[in-house]
Symmetry: C7
């Protein structure tokens, strides 16, 4: 049972929606996730941002769709952290949670 716990994305977005709205809308689509949004470079019409997502198991499709829906482009997946539970462990871990 594989869970994706952390993803770092390099994203190009328009100035609008701004970083706060962008992050908030992203979070609304991904219950249980924590987001850090950092502006790296600002150009005339766009800005390059690094978005870190952490969760018990990240719903990547939801993250990616939400970014696209706000006219953002995922340039690259810079980092991924996954954990693979043994089957027995994962069952007990699941009931714990």
């Amino acid at each position: 049972m594989v869970k994706v716990q952390r993803i770092v994305l390099d994203v190009l977005k328009l100035h609008s929606p701004n970083g706060l709205e962008f992050s908030t809308q992203l979070a609304e689509k991904c219950p249980g996730c924590w987001f850090n949004f950092k502006v790296m470079e600002v150009d005339e019409k766009t800005e390059t941002v690094i978005i870190v997502v952490e969760s018990e198991d990240i719903p990547y499709e939801d993250v990616a769709n939400a970014i696209t829906a706000m006219s953002g482009t995922i340039h690259s997946i810079d980092e991924v952290e996954v954990i693979s539970f043994d089957d027995v462990e994962s069952v007990s871990a699941a009931t714990d949670v």
Copy 2:
């Protein structure tokens, strides 16, 4: 249920009110918030400051209005941290608080 826990703002302000008054007035408008105010560059009439706000859920409009009311200009939102609670979790978390 999305909560904004940290915002980093790049702000241009006049020398007056000074940093202490500026921070204090900002804090008065945002109960439950912690502010770090740091001067980055001083020019003849203005200064560039980085303001970090942390709270359980930051009332950004109040922060932005308070800055504007003191003749400050938000140049950019440099960083945002948001957390999205699962609905069940957020209810119990809310009653805890």
Copy 3:
């Protein structure tokens, strides 16, 4: 209820009183405060020092007056940390202390 918890000051002072006397007299005027005094640059008649003050709620006027009384000049307030308690919280916090 707003409390100022940390202030960093850039101060120009004469060589006398020396750093130890300067810090001690400063502290005598501000019960409940912790001070770090660091010499950054020494010139012929003056020295530039960075003074960090931390307290549960810094009495800035007392700090500033004490510096002025020792012929020191506050060049700038480089950093400020303030916390704004919710009213309910601040009452219980006050009775705790």
Copy 4:
């Protein structure tokens, strides 16, 4: 009784599968492992990534086979951490787990 607890690999891979799919498939083949996948350099058709694997005892063959099965090439094993248990200790450690 020797256990391999950490391996750092320098890997060349094609752009597809992307980092998330690559990491997830890798993890599926190695129950009980934690993976960090980081992109170091991107070229026209390939990318160089650093993969860190941690586990109680890493099944290296499974890791290597999974990488090869996704058309990845292990350029080098950059770092290895192994622990060698005394026989008595390892028995009790084994029953603990």
Copy 5:
């Protein structure tokens, strides 16, 4: 009630007594103090050292006299940390100790 908790001194001393004897004799004059003595620069007849003193309340006169008695010269007081207790707190703190 003001207590000096840390002082950093820039000191010029002769090669003799050496750093170990210098530090030990300094400590003998200041019960309750901790000293860190670090050589920064060695010249033909002298050496520049940084001496850090920490204590619950540093007896600076004793430190300074002990340095002078060993032909050392205090070039500057580079850093000072003082704490100013509220009167009530300081009484209870005193009885605790």
Copy 6:
């Protein structure tokens, strides 16, 4: 009673056995040891690696023999940590373990 707790070795080895096999075989010869093996430089036929060994008391001869048996050459012992127990302490420490 002297115990060697950490040794850092600069080793030249052939490409085969690879780092994983090299570390594992090394560990098999030294029960109770932890090894970190890091590749520093790769040449045509050889590679320079830094090997850190930690244990309650490192059997250096076993480590050195194992390295030599795999055609490795110890260029230098870069770092050593040893602890010397008082006799009384070491006896009780020994019975504890």
Copy 7:
């Protein structure tokens, strides 16, 4: 009551005895001490090493004699840490140990 808790020595030694033997023999002469031995520079016949000694109270003469007995030369004492106990405290501290 003054205790020397840490000394950092800059030492010139011959290649033989090697770092492991050098450290071990040094430790045998100083029960209760911990040593870190690090090679800084290697020349044709000699090497410069930094030796850190830590103990509850370092017997410096024993350390210095052991270094000399192995043809080492102490270039300088780079750092010293001493603590001076109040008489009352030191008595109770002594009985604790």
